[in-house]
Amino acid sequence: MSQTRIGRLFERLRTTERRPALIAYITAGDPSPDRTPELVAALERGGADLIELGVPFSDPIADGPVIQRGSDRALKAGTRVSTVLDIAAEIRKRSEIPLLLFTYMNPVLHYGLESLARDAAARGIDGCLLTDLSVEEAEPYVGAMRNAGLDTVFLAAPTSTQRRLELVAKYSTGFVYLVSRTGVTGERSTVSDAVTPLVNAMRRVTALPLAVGFGISSADQVRTVGTLADGVIVGTAIVRVVEQNAASADLPAKLEALARELASGLPSKNP
């Protein structure tokens, strides 16, 4: 399979720039679908290397209150799966930033696995992550995504056993998303002790880039995690800024500043 923008990004960062990626999550359609492309552009200007484009779902069991509210706002604003695909196409007109759909199983299942893979690829999306899809149930989904040339990113967690880490590695392409701690999405003041052992355990079973998320919201935390992993994921802190400035014309500037601040924590990795 030829590399997606995701694979090319991590290769460039590893060989040329020698630094980890800053990965930014944003809920598509929050506060409204027409604003998402400019918000993504602002995150990119501030230093985000990859965008996780959240497709809102009515029952987001893996998300804390901030992202739950973001999903509610997006759904109330009329965001549908097809809307998110159109948003991606709009972003793709002006940017080559890698785009990863980030959502739950049911909206994708209802859209149709094959149809979603085809339509997402056609609009310039590079991959997909379904929070509540276990590798055990993933065979049809992975097949559909592969056929369309999309990456499938899966989660690994501090509770994952060795056998499970191997399965996650086997089904993942692009990168592996390491969940820093048990729990739902949301900011935490310190980086979990579980990160180092999880990164080490995962390194032993895969050569794929490893990105760490859940609980990361400051440049200091980006620095800490960035010394261990190939990517650092920030979500809740971004959605919180969207929430607090939803009605403001300054929202893109605020998001750009947040991304710039977070990116300032990215360590350079000299050999």
């Binding site: 009515s58 199983m105 299942l109 149930e137 989660l155 690994a156 509770t159 994952s160 056993t161």
Partner: protein
């Protein structure tokens, strides 16, 4: 009807498969954090299932704490007035805490203790599972946190107080429709956060494997007793069994012992609510399509974009968007059938049962009564069994709101 039947059909069920699938349904659709804990829970349960000491302790608690076996009662006046079938009622409402839910809670509490988990989280809709959870936690000295939608706390406030009196913490959930669906989401979020110390005591035959199998197994005793009792009383099997279906735990519990008896019709009754439009009911089979919610793939009420629909039922315990996966599979096989009863039909059936038999049913169970009474006139010489899964004390406020004339001093007894 055949009348030469084996005394029991008590073999271990063949479903689900090793990955928790009932045909295409069921499975495990949860965040990776929960996958290893679910594997551990499954392992612990499969060991306990084969452990005579575990089974004997559970059996003792079911008999001497919960009050099993429950009676199978011949409802003579209801039968006469309905004018056809001979109707029996399986009295799960007489169990300790007032509903069948205690069967599963005792089993899972023993399992939690076996796994060394000291903290229990549970969800509740009508409050019956919450009360049963709080009860077993008191009994075993476990910390108990019950998540309950704020709308359900309002309409089931008696049960909120009972849970608190039993020592549980009741946490109101203000998201979404503020009902059972949101309570389950919040309980799952708690579990995903505290999974090292906590057991999630899921209260229906829902969720990720092994829950639908485990919850079913803990309720199979309902059907096993019923089968034995009806053979003793009538020397033959029933023609039809009626049970309400929210997640479907009481229904799967009574159905299971009869699955091999092809002459026994197994009828599940969903909540028809206020009408057939999406959002006004919880009839997943007539209004839904297969989808994933809270860890399982089954029939789901959802909109055209795969968002989970709001549901409505006068009974909080049936007010949920997904049906338990084994029901979907049994229906595909043609082994079970599902219909719905409206809010109004359930309320009327509750009043009928109260007047004729001196039994005030839970609103959930009243849905099953309504369908049995509806079918009885055309079913002369047939044997019906209604699984009366809970008693109606908790619903007194709702009955009062909906049967206002009973608060009048000189109300006339309605013609029945």
């Amino acid at each position: 009807m055949p009348n030469q039947q084996p005394a029991t059909s008590n073999q271990q069920p063949a479903t689900p498969d090793a990955a928790g699938h009932f045909g295409p349904y069921g499975g495990r659709y949860v965040p990776e954090v929960l996958m290893a804990p679910l594997e551990q829970l499954e392992q612990a349960y499969l060991e306990a299932r084969l452990d005579p000491a575990f089974q004997s302790e559970l059996k003792d608690l079911l008999a001497n704490y919960a009050g099993r076996p429950t009676p199978l009662y011949h409802a003579k006046r209801l039968s006469e007035i309905s004018g056809g079938a001979k109707i029996y009622i399986k009295r799960e409402d007489l169990l300790h805490t007032g509903a069948h839910k205690i069967n599963n809670c005792l089993g899972q509490a023993l399992l939690a203790r076996r796994m060394g988990k000291k903290r229990i989280v549970a969800e509740t809709g009508a409050g019956q599972h919450g009360v049963a959870s709080a009860t077993v936690c008191a009994l075993f000295g476990l910390e108990c946190i019950v998540y309950m939608g704020e709308e359900d706390m309002r309409r089931q406030r008696l049960n909120v107080f009972r849970m608190r009196m039993l020592g549980a913490k009741v946490v109101g959930v203000a998201s979404g429709s503020r009902t059972l669906k949101d309570a389950i989401s919040e309980a799952m979020r708690d579990w995903v956060t505290n999974v090292e110390t906590t057991h999630y005591l899921l209260g229906s035959a829902l969720g990720a494997h092994p829950y639908p199998m485990m919850v079913r197994d803990f309720h199979r005793v309902i059907g096993e007793e019923t089968r034995r009792q009806i053979l003793e009383r009538e020397h033959r099997l029933p023609d039809s069994i009626f049970a309400c279906v929210g997640g479907g735990s009481n229904a799967i519990g009574i159905f299971h012992a009869f699955l091999g008896d092809s002459g026994v019709r197994l009828i599940g009754i969903e909540a028809g609510g206020r009408g057939a439009e999406l959002g006004a009911h919880a009839a997943r089979f007539s209004g839904g399509s297969p989808g994933v919610l809270h860890g399982a793939y089954s029939y789901l009420l959802q909109d055209t974009d795969g968002q989970v629909s709001l549901t409505h039922s006068v009974s909080a315990g049936l007010d949920y968007a997904l049906v338990g996966p084994e029901h979907a599979w049994l229906r595909d096989q043609g082994r079970t059938e599902y219909v719905s009863a409206t809010d109004q039909q359930a309320l009327e059936a509750a009043r009928t049962l109260a007047h004729l038999e001196g039994i005030i049913p839970a609103l959930e169970s009243a849905h099953a009564v309504a369908e049995a009474v509806r079918r009885a006139p055309g079913s002369k010489d047939q044997l019906f069994i209604i699984n009366l899964s809970g008693r109606g004390d908790k619903d007194t406020d709702i009955y009062r709101e909906n049967l206002k004339e009973l608060d009048e001093p000189d109300q006339n007894r309605p013609a029945l």
